[in-house]
Amino acid sequence: MSMAASWTGTSLWRIQASRARALPGLVVLLIGWELAARLLTDAFVLAGPTEVLAYLVEDRALMARALGETLTNAAFGFVIGNVAAIALAAVALAWPRAERVVTGLALLVFCLPLVATGPILRVLYGPGAGPQVTLAALAVYYTTLIPLLVGLRAAPSSWFDLVRSYGRGRFATLVHVRAMASLPYFFAGLQIAAPAAFLGAMVGEFTGAERGMGVLTVQAIRALDVEMTWGLATVATAVSILAYIAIGALGRRVLLDAPPVILAAPAGASRGRLAAWVDAGLVTLIAVGAWWLALLAFGLNPFFAKGPGDVFAALVLDDDAAETRAALAAALGETALFLIPGYLAGLLAGAGLAVLLILVPMIASSAMPLAIALRSVPIVTTAPLVVLLLGRGAVGTIVLVAVMVFFPTFVASLHGLRQAPGQIMDVFDSYAAGPVTRLLRVRIPAMLPAFFAAARMAVPASVLAVTVVEWLATGNGIGSLMAISASLSDYDMLWSSVVLVSVLSALGYAAVGAVERRILGTYAPEQLA
């Protein structure tokens, strides 16, 4: 039922078709920005649109070279990451029993903190574009894999029966049904992946690349160059929105129907608790085995290429293991103080605003396109701005995390709220139920699956946000610890933090999934069927 609905249900594109309605919002935004800049001229934190434009025109050659470099890396990473996603989806499809292990491993890799994998990849690759491309690929494959997995199953069973009734098997089903049925989901994934690839490439460039937007960003922050910082962030934002819109337009050409807003598969509880633990164990085992084998196979220098044994020694066996653990725990504690409030505030603000807006449909229809566009902004590239504006203290970091979580949550929640099945709404209308009753009884339960999908995906995203700010600006928490370890060549510490952050992110994701199952079990049990 819910699967076929993607072919008939609410259309993201219908909303995008009304993109023109986003224009007033955009104009207001620009004017507000300019006014704020004029008011704050003496504070040296904010460059207005006119100043940014002047800067971009003046330094256009430099900017164009950097943008070209970053775009090239992002494009390579985008292709590699998406090909990997398709390959992984194919494995999961060909071998359904392996799906949870495949997605578990994929999640773990997705949870790798880019901030630390960046420097590690830098020493592994040496100079060149290797780390940028790899990080771009790592940033995108998961956002494509998950919708693709959902899409490959998003067909009513009668379509599969039809293929079977002509005596044809899984391959024909894949070609004639699954591939086509998954396209809207695939495009939805690609649309999110495009800006993510750009972000990944930029973060890769933070780690001692020679050229690119990331390099300039680091220079701008070091030099406290307000115009350059704002100029770079503006370009990154514009590029991301354009990539998002371009893929949307491509999708509209290729497809009949809109891509659904699916950020992650519903946390299926169909298999038992024991099976889940077995799968989790398998994922850990395979991850550790692959890590160990990779080091062995590439014959990497053990000084910087640490294996699972080294990390275990550093955390447990070595003389200074206790100190290492204490340092990590202290850093994680600091980070949690920013991360958790920011994450919760982002969720609350996203869902809250969506609920408020649905009660005022006029505003909702013009806020939606703007929010969709802004969701595509790699918030992290604006981290320097937030730091400039709000300082290097807690407020800036928390706000950044919250903003990072806010947009996807808001867009997903609004979509969920609007998706309330028409017939049910009609029934409530026929009882003359007021807007609040309908909101509580129909719309919010309909919103929950999308909200939780966003909440799960927001876990790794918020970890990324907090570690980047800590690394680039605030100088505390696990992000800063990783940066310092990288510059001091304390690779034991660096690898240990990578392992810890990835595992904690994956656990956070799983924890949100557990809450999700609880709540959906009560409010929307059909979603778990």
């Binding site: 009668s158 379509w159 029966d161 079977r164 009734s165 002509y166 005596g167 086509m180």
Partner: protein
């Protein structure tokens, strides 16, 4: 107009289907369908008609008992694309036009058909002019007719129709009731028609099997020896009316069984 594969004889021996959840949908069905004839399965909603059809189509496996199509299990018939199903839900692929959906069946059955032939089928089900339309642009009845055309396209020896006219409007239904039997008679197709409409069953078939409420068991097996071609108006004639009464009486008898229907409510 010979069918691609000769019409098979179908035998069900003690077929029972109990689903994983414990729902028993079909109980101990023993039936033989002669080749080239049209048989209607009639029973109340939810009694297990679709399940029996899907068992014969090889889309479900019986919990016990045996189904045999021309000496082989249904899976074998599936492999030779010797049967087609028009499902209760038209199951048209939304990204293909009416023509595209019909061509899909040919592709799946690894057959070729002249454009003219596809065109004729589209006309036969009254969709002339809608060949390039996507399913979303069609009414429910039109979609069902497209599904019927798709099922006919591969010239199956065995044609399984699951409530094919449920959403089709009355006039078109009468038109189809005139045209379709001509086609499957000319082709010598063995046809199995699931319906809950008694008059439709009597009008279209050579034989009506009446099923009890769930789990489906046979209560009556009534030969319909009315002359062909038949006309919907002909149902008012005394012999047709008598047959309809017999079917209705058998349905009531099934409903009155101690563990089913009214008695079980």
């Amino acid at each position: 107009m010979a069918p691609e594969t000769p019409p098979p004889r179908i035998a069900c021996e003690g077929v029972t289907k109990i689903f994983a959840g414990g729902t028993e949908a079909v109980r101990d069905v023993n039936l033989t369908f002669e080749p080239g004839r049209t048989t209607a399965l009639v029973g109340p909603s939810g009694c297990g008609k679709s399940t029996l059809l899907r068992l014969i189509a090889g889309l479900e496996t019986p919990t016990s008992g045996r189904i045999d199509i021309a000496g082989a299990p249904p899976s074998e018939t599936l492999r030779h694309a010797g049967l087609s199903v028009a499902f209760q839900d038209p199951s048209l692929l939304p990204w293909r036009s009416v023509r595209g959906n019909i061509e899909l069946a040919l592709q799946l059955a690894r057959q070729k058909a002249a454009d003219r032939e596809v065109e004729d089928l589209i006309d036969l089900v009254g969709l002339g002019g809608f060949a390039e339309a996507r399913p979303a642009a069609l009414s429910g009845g039109m979609r069902q007719r497209a599904a019927i055309a798709r099922a006919l396209a591969t010239r199956p020896g065995l044609l399984l129709l699951d409530e094919p006219f449920g959403a089709v409007d009355e006039l078109t239904r009468q038109q189809l009731a005139r045209d379709l039997p001509k086609l499957w008679e000319a082709r010598g197709t063995t046809t199995l028609l699931v319906t809950h409409s008694v008059s439709e069953a009597v009008l279209l078939s050579d034989r009506v099997i009446v099923l009890t409420p769930r789990p489906a068991e046979i209560v009556a097996d009534i030969a319909i020896d009315l002359p062909r071609p038949r006309d919907p108006d002909g149902l008012r004639a005394p012999d047709a009316a008598a047959l309809i009464d017999r079917v209705v009486a058998a349905l009531s008898e099934g409903m009155a069984l101690p563990d089913r229907g009214i008695a079980a409510q």
